[in-house]
């Protein structure tokens, strides 16, 4: 096992990444799709507003992107910190 200080750097990098991803996750679903919908209601998409699109499709696409991005970044971090297998 790698020494403890290396693991700490790895873990804080992980926490930073998770935080960033979850901020985007919340912003798109709770934000754009629900609470901030009135703010972006001027932007039109296919006969309705951007908030409606986020609620029915956009947030799912963002979730998908986030999970794959997280997996890719973490697998890279694993290697950088020598904790991959």
């Amino acid at each position: 096992m790698a020494d403890n200080s290396g693991n700490n750097a790895y873990w804080s990098a992980n926490l930073r990444l998770v935080t960033i991803c979850l901020v985007i996750w919340a912003l798109c679903s709770y934000g754009f799709a629900i609470l901030l919908r009135p703010l972006i209601s001027g932007i039109e998409v296919g006969g309705t507003d951007l908030g409606f699109w986020f609620a029915q499709q956009g947030s799912i696409l963002v979730f998908l992107f986030l999970i794959f991005f997280y997996a890719w970044r973490m697998n890279k971090l694993d290697k950088e910190h020598g904790v991959d297998e």
């Binding site: 096992m1 790698a2 403890n4 693991n7 790895y10 873990w11 992980n14 998770v18 991803c21 979850l22 996750w25 679903s29 709770y30 799709a33 629900i34 609470l35 919908r37 998409v45 296919g46 006969g47 309705t48 507003d49 409606f52 699109w53 609620a55 029915q56 499709q57 947030s59 799912i60 696409l61 979730f63 998908l64 986030l66 999970i67 794959f68 997280y70 997996a71 973490m74 697998n75 694993d78 020598g82 904790v83 991959d84 297998e85």
Partner: protein, 580 residues
């Protein structure tokens, strides 16, 4: 050949496929029974997870839920997908690294306490049993509707099918059956949707068709070139309904979404699917693939909902909402087919021989069960009989795959966490495998019994399952990974606080154990206007607060537990730690 015969052939073929897989993927060890030998490819596991997750409710009911409410019910789309982000980043990879078989096992080992383990088992069983009732009744209804057998007979057939591949194959059999079930259900869902989207908008991809313009030559006074959603909003307001895209209460919508997301992430039958992949990195990828396969249905569902709603209106008002309503004798054939089932009903109240569909009291489309939207989709689109048969097989596949996953979660909690960990730790590998099979058979018998005699509260139980998963298991699992300081007393009292607060709030408004008439309070007394269905995040908050306070005033966990948390956080060694 009549439709029922065709349905029986297609459904029968799908069963033959599941049985074939069951024989091929028999489980020979506890590792195979609980975790498919940890040899499942991440993409394959993603597909199995999608089938595991998408229940009869997703397949049959969700499009209707959205169609009849519109924007507000997008919360189901976001809630039932957004939980995967939490699961992928906060739970799945670490629990895979932990390298054991069940969710209560992590709770028991991490919190070095059989009390915590047993509380975990209780939470798991309450969540999974309530959830499985809906699946069994869903399968029974699908059988009776498409194969024209009694609901009871349908339920017995469903139980027998699950029995064969779940008892024989355990997680291994269930995994590969779920892959086949996913293929059946996604094909069944997509084909009618593509045709309807082509008819209405000329776009073959339903998800894009939803945001496209109307085609030419459509009935109901629909103007070509106008966006579909604008058209739908216009028609609905003409008839006195709410606008499809309108918002009502954003804060409650956000809270309900959060409840579904946290609940999804804490559902044990989904979490254990990630124990079947070889490595931590695979668990991360696999969560992404699961969402890809779920999204294929979830991006289509809102299109199916909106398009079906539009089709109904233009069917009822062929000359447009300002013209004459449809003559009763001109109603399409699928109307008659579904009127027989009692799910659809018209009544010519004013005796003009026409059926007026409006939002008011004079509405003459008196019954319209929202499940019809998906089930009758092929007929509405005028598609051939084999597509209808495919929908039957798809609905049954969706119910069976979820039921099997839940039954595995229940039986492994009993055989592994209660029998192996608490009651008889000296049980042999062979003995435990037998115990696992017997628990599975017992769980199926219980689920069948509850499906035949559904408790009066069937409608509310799903809210209970999500609320409890959010308020009990999710916080306990998350703190077990992210807080090294969290100790046994904190986690146990946290789970109890979540369990008790959620049950109390539900029972106060929905009746003690959901028995009608025993509710102490009425909806106008909701705390801050929060309905019981939305309570999950608040129960989770109670759990977190109690856990941190109790843990703060009691001793830190022992060194070896802190080392365990340390090791769960790094991926190296997950493959090697398997099956010890």
């Amino acid at each position: 050949m009549d439709q029922t015969t065709l349905n029986i052939i297609v459904v029968g073929l799908s069963f033959a496929l599941y049985f074939g897989i069951a024989i091929w993927a028999r489980a020979g060890s506890t590792s195979e029974f609980y975790a498919a030998g940890r040899g499942v490819n991440p993409v394959v596991n993603g597909m199995a997870t999608a089938a595991d997750w998408m229940s009869a409710a997703s397949f049959i009911s969700m499009a209707g839920l959205i169609a009849f409410v519109g924007y507000n019910n997008s919360l189901f789309l976001m809630g039932w997908t957004g939980g995967y982000v939490l699961m992928a980043m906060l739970l799945a990879p670490y629990l895979r690294k932990f390298g054991k078989y069940t969710v209560p096992e992590f709770i028991g080992d991490r919190y070095y306490s059989n009390t915590a383990r047993v509380v975990g088992v209780i939470c798991l069983i309450v969540i999974s049993v309530t959830y499985v009732i809906g699946q069994m009744t869903g399968a029974g209804v699908a059988f009776s509707r498409f194969l024209e057998v009694e609901i009871t007979t349908g339920l017995y057939i469903a139980s027998a099918v699950v029995f064969v591949y779940a008892v024989l194959g355990g997680m291994k059999g269930i995994t590969y059956t779920q892959v086949a079930q996913y293929c059946v259900l996604i094909i069944a869902y997509t084909i009618p949707a593509v045709f309807i989207s082509l008819q209405l908008t000329g776009n073959p991809i339903p998800g894009l068709g939803l945001f496209s313009n109307m085609s030419e030559g459509l009935p109901g006074g629909v103007e070509a070139g106008v966006p579909l959603l604008t058209t739908l909003d216009g028609l609905l307001t003409d008839l006195g309904f709410n606008e499809y895209t309108a918002t009502t209460n954003p804060w409650l919508m956000a809270l309900y979404t959060l409840s579904l997301m946290i609940g999804t992430a804490g559902l044990p039958h989904v979490i254990i699917r990630f124990f079947t992949v070889p490595k931590v990195a695979d668990a991360r990828w696999s969560a992404g693939w699961a969402l890809v396969f779920i999204a294929l249905l979830y991006l289509t569902a809102p299109a199916v909902g909106a398009m079906a709603r539009l089709n109904i209106i233009t069917t009822m008002w062929p000359e447009g909402t300002q013209g004459e309503a449809v003559l009763q004798e001109d109603l399409p054939d699928w109307f008659q087919t579904w009127e027989v089932t009692g799910l659809l009903g018209v009544e010519d109240k004013n005796g003009d021989g026409r059926i007026q569909y409006t939002a008011g009291d004079d509405n003459e489309l008196v019954t319209f069960n929202r499940d019809i939207l998906v089930l009758a989709n092929p007929e509405i689109a005028g598609l051939p009989g084999w597509v209808i048969a495919l929908i039957a097989a798809g609905g049954i596949a969706a119910a069976l795959s979820t039921a099997a996953g839940l039954l595995l979660a229940i039986s492994s909690a009993i055989s592994h966490d209660l029998i192996k960990s608490v009651i008889n730790p000296n049980i042999t590998e062979k003995g435990e495998l037998l115990a696992a099979r017997i628990s599975m058979a017992g769980a199926i018998a219980l689920a069948t019994y509850l499906g035949l005699n559904p408790p009066g509260f069937a409608a509310q139980v799903v809210a209970l399952a999500f609320g409890l998963a959010a308020a009990t298991l999710f916080p306990a699992l998350m703190m077990g990974i992210f807080s090294k300081r969290m100790n046994s007393a904190g986690a146990t009292w946290g789970m109890i606080a979540g369990l008790v607060s959620t049950c109390t709030y539900l029972f106060l408004f929905l009746g003690v154990f959901f028995i009608p008439g025993t509710n102490a309070l009425t909806p106008d007394q909701y705390l801050f206007g929060i309905p019981p269905t939305h309570f999950g995040p608040i129960g989770a908050l109670f759990n977190f607060v109690v856990a941190y306070v109790v843990s703060g005033i009691t001793a830190a966990p022992p060194k070896e537990i802190q080392d365990l948390v340390e090791s769960v956080r790094i991926p190296r060694g997950a493959g090697a730690a398997v099956n010890k």
